[in-house]
Structure formats: C-alpha cells, structure tokens
Subunit: 308 residues, 2 copies
C-alpha cells in the first residue's frame, strides 16, 4: 500500500452563496462537508487510480468523528488515523456564485500533546513496514515540534520507504535537511525555501539543501523537476481554466503512484501534470475528471533540460 | 420557569481574522463556538437575570450533540430540546480585526420531518404546563409548515401562557394572525409585515394584524411600543457604539422577564433598552455587561405617546 500522512487533517466545508459581500449577512444555499487535509486528498486520488492506500495522522473531537465516519465511506482508503484529545479543525470555503471565486478560512487545528506525538510515531513506524511509498503532507497542527517532518523523513529512509514531503515554511526547511526523496513545492514555498524566485535556479537550490529530487509546481505552466537523473519541464497541451483547488494534491498522487509503479521521471511527470489538469477542469473542487485525465495523458509535453 | 423555543438552533462559530479579503485564503487566529439561535441567546440572558429558563426546539447530528453538551454547562438553562435526525446548522461569523466588522454565513438548518414536528408539539404542550411565559424565536428550519408559529401561539394562548413571537417574513405574518401577546420586530421585519417604513404607523398597523402588543426595535434609537395600555418610546440616554449582535435577543429577554414579573410597560421597556444597550457595549458578541446594565437602568428615557 501507499501511505499518506496528514498531521493536521480537516473537515472541509464548502458554502455556496449567491454573492459574497464583506460585512453583510449571507444565507448559505448549499453546505458540503468532506474529509480533507492534503494527505487525505492525495489518498482519495490514489484510490481512484486503483492503489491500495492508508491514511494516518491525527483525528479527534466531534469533527474528527465526522471525518472518520465519512472516510469509512471512501472506497479503497484505509483509516489508520491516531486519536487526539483536541477537535480536528474545519476549513470553510465560501464560493461566490456571481464570480466563481472562493474565499477560504482555515482553522489552526487541535493542539497535539507530546504523548500523542509519541503514540503517532509508533503507529507510523508500524505502517512503514508494509508501505511501498509515503507522502507527508500539509501544515503542522499546534503543539508539534517544527522538526516533526524531519523525524518522519528519517524514519521512512531508515525503513527503506521512498518519501515525498509536501509542506511549506519552516516545516519544509527542516524536513528538507533530513533528505527526503522528493519535495513538491509551489512557487511561494520554493521562494521561501531558497530565497530565489527564478524557478530553475530555485529548484536546483532546493536540491542542494537536501532533497534528492524537487518537483516545483508552476501553476498553469506545469511542473519543473530537478532530479539525480536530470531536469525536465512538463506542461499541459493547452491552458486550462477551472478551479485549482486540489491540483497540487493530484500532482503529489501522480508522482507517488508512478514512483511506486517503478515508472521513470518523464512518465511520473506526465501522470502528475495530466491528473493536476484534470482536477482543475473537474466540476467539483478537488476531484479529477477521469476522462480529461485519460485524454491529457497522451498530450502532456515533457521537455528535458540540461543535465543536473 | 420561562420557556424559550428555538426551532432552528445553531452552533454559532466565530472566526477572528486580521483582515477579510474576498477571494483570498485566511488563517483563522481564533475560533469560538457556542450554542445559538435566538431563543437560546434569550435563555442565556434570562438565566443571567436570575430566571429559571427551559429551552426547547430541535437539535440533532454531531452539531446538535456539541450544542447540547455545551448547553449543559450554561448555568440555569434547562435543556428540553427534541432530537431530530438532521444535523443542527452552524452559523459562521467572520470578525475582521482591522475594522471590527462581521461577515455572517448562516446555514439553512436540518430538514424536520412531520413525525419530528408532531413529537415537538407534544413536548411543547407538556412544557407549557409549568411555563410562566414563552418566547418563540427565530427562523423556521426546512420542512416545517410556514404556519408553525401560528400553531404554537394558539397552543400557548389556549394554555393561558403569555407568548412573545420574534421572527420575520411569512412565519411572522402567519404567527401574528394567531394573536400573540407580543411581537418584537426590527425595522425590516416590521416593514415586511405592514408595508410601511414609518415606525409609528407600522407599529400600529402590526397591532391591527393581530398582535396584542408590538415592540419595534429601532436600533440605536431604542424601542417603540404599541400596546392596549398606550404607546411608548424608550431610548438609551446616549448613543452607544459597539457590536449590535444579540441586542435584539437581549431586548426580548428584558421584555419577557419583566412581563413574567408583572411589571408595567414603562418598566418592561426600560429593562429591554438597558439590556439591549449593555449587550451592544459588551466586549463579547451577544453577551451583556452587567455593570452597564445596572448603570443604564436608571437613565433610560421612556416617553408616553398618544394613547392608542
């Protein structure tokens, strides 16, 4: 199985309003709620691709319970979440029907105690025993040491399990130093990590900081990869409009599944770009459209850059 | 005891953000959650005034459970809520720290089945047996007949229990025709009910539609009352700045408690205006500041209008 770790899981709530007016009162027409947090989203895409996938991380309180009940209904996703005393956070996305734009509110998440963190590490160690690959995804909840991902990266490497890290800020900086197999920063995270806003130099600089391979997501321009085997750029055949929510998580699922299947870099990037683009074009935020995915797989352009 | 009815209870969530920017992503700094819905807010104020108070209405699902757990911790408020299969709604208030303004999102609420409605009416009938007064508050959840409040008004009158109705739109129109003892519309609700935007004519018109007494809330200008004993205007001694959230619910609590204590109209209005103003000036939304309340009680100006 493939393991995804979401230390700060979320109950993602979507509100549809006719028009968002600051400082006004809105009747919400439509409320949707689903399990979220980057690793949970990645798991859903992996399951849709036919991979056995297990999710771990923390879940607790009434929101944690709703999340786990709902996760139990997701086909192909096994729940190995570790209970915590605090209440799992919500995120609220307000969709303005007049523009299609989304305004997002992210709660900070429950405070995790050191006992809970120790308990999680034991569970993670156990899960690594049967994992073919692991993705460590998203923000850290309050209370966890900022070096938490570095600890999890080292444990995966010691167990011989390929590890992808997808986070930002100081958690990324510390995690990268533990030498993960792959990181997938977006432009902002990459600039924070390296101090450079130039995609290619920044991607190469991120490798020098410790990541074996770096796949930077450049939004509509696709992905830029700096790896021990060389550098590549992968782009969709045309500009795609739609909702970018979840496109990064789909890219992670594409990279990780292709890695677990032993595919080479151009194939990994092709899959990641096609999935990502199929997510942007899907009618529901964070889901991918299988037909668009199949159609785009054949037309992603992968260009080899200078050898690294 | 005093009974308050909240058919569409809510879990009121407050998010504090540094600045609300439409179409941006916000990290919420501070999350607060408390039981809400107008009748629940009224009950909290009544309990703070030293009255025994019972809340009824519907609560269900995970949010209903959180609401009831939290209500159990509210001193002096007895829980007689009736379970429903649907999930109690949330409201989300986003407070912009840069301006102090609030942007509000109100979920519609759970669909109530006819079996649940019948079960509620039986419980309500039972509770009327020991109630000195009853307040019917807020919006109707989906599934209830629009004449629901009319049914509850008639039952209270048949039981000889004074009944206050605080709602809007068609539910108010239908409820008023059942001849409640008192309604407390705000300017918008009053205009919807009567077609007039002139406070005094509209208040008198609302009486002709069936309400024995009408107390219209005019925001910072205070209250305007049209009753069988005459008309009065009651205003705070000075303009008060602050958060108007919950001021209307405090006015209802003031009117209802004074009515239950057998006070006359000027005393009822004085209490309602002082509580309402003390709520506007309280640091936390929807709570009243007891010191401001005590201070203002002595200085509310009540003016008698022409006899009705």
């Amino acid at each position: 199985m493939i393991l995804t770790v979401t230390l700060n899981t979320a109950l993602d709530v979507t509100y549809h309003v006719p028009r968002l007016l600051p400082h006004a009162s809105h009747r919400v027409r439509d409320v949707r709620e689903r399990p979220g947090g980057k690793g949970v989203n990645v798991a859903r895409v992996l399951a849709a691709l036919g991979h056995g996938v297990t999710v771990t991380g923390f879940a607790g309180g009434p929101h944690g319970e709703v999340l786990r009940t709902s996760l139990a209904e997701a086909p192909g996703v096994a729940d190995a979440l570790v209970p915590c005393a605090g209440n799992t956070r919500r995120t609220v996305a307000v969709v303005d029907a007049s523009t299609g734009d989304t305004t997002q509110f992210n709660e900070p998440g429950p405070a995790i105690s050191s006992v809970e963190w120790t308990r999680f590490q034991a569970r993670y160690q156990e899960l690594l025993g049967t994992a073919r690959a692991v993705a460590l995804c998203g923000s850290l909840p309050p209370g966890l040491p900022v070096g938490a991902y570095a600890v999890l990266v080292r444990a995966a490497r010691a167990a011989g399990v390929p590890v992808l890290l997808d986070t930002g800020g100081e958690a990324l900086r510390r995690g990268v130093a533990a030498r993960p197999d792959l990181i997938k920063p977006n432009a902002v995270e990459l600039a924070e990590l390296t101090g450079s806003r130039e995609p290619l130099p920044a991607t190469l600089a991120a490798r020098r900081r410790g990541a074996h391979a770096v796949v930077a997501s450049l939004g509509p321009a696709g992905l830029l990869a700096a790896t021990p085997e060389g550098t590549w750029q992968a782009a969709p055949p045309r500009a795609l409009s739609g909702n970018p929510t979840g496109a990064g998580d789909s890219a992670v699922a594409g990279l990780l599944s292709a890695l677990a299947e032993g595919l080479d870099w151009p194939e990994r990037l092709t899959r990641a770009v096609a999935l990502s683009a199929a997510t942007v074009q899907a009618p529901a935020a964070g889901e991918f459209d299988p037909r668009t995915y199949e159609e785009l797989r054949g037309s992603v352009k992968v260009t080899s850059g200078q050898p690294d």
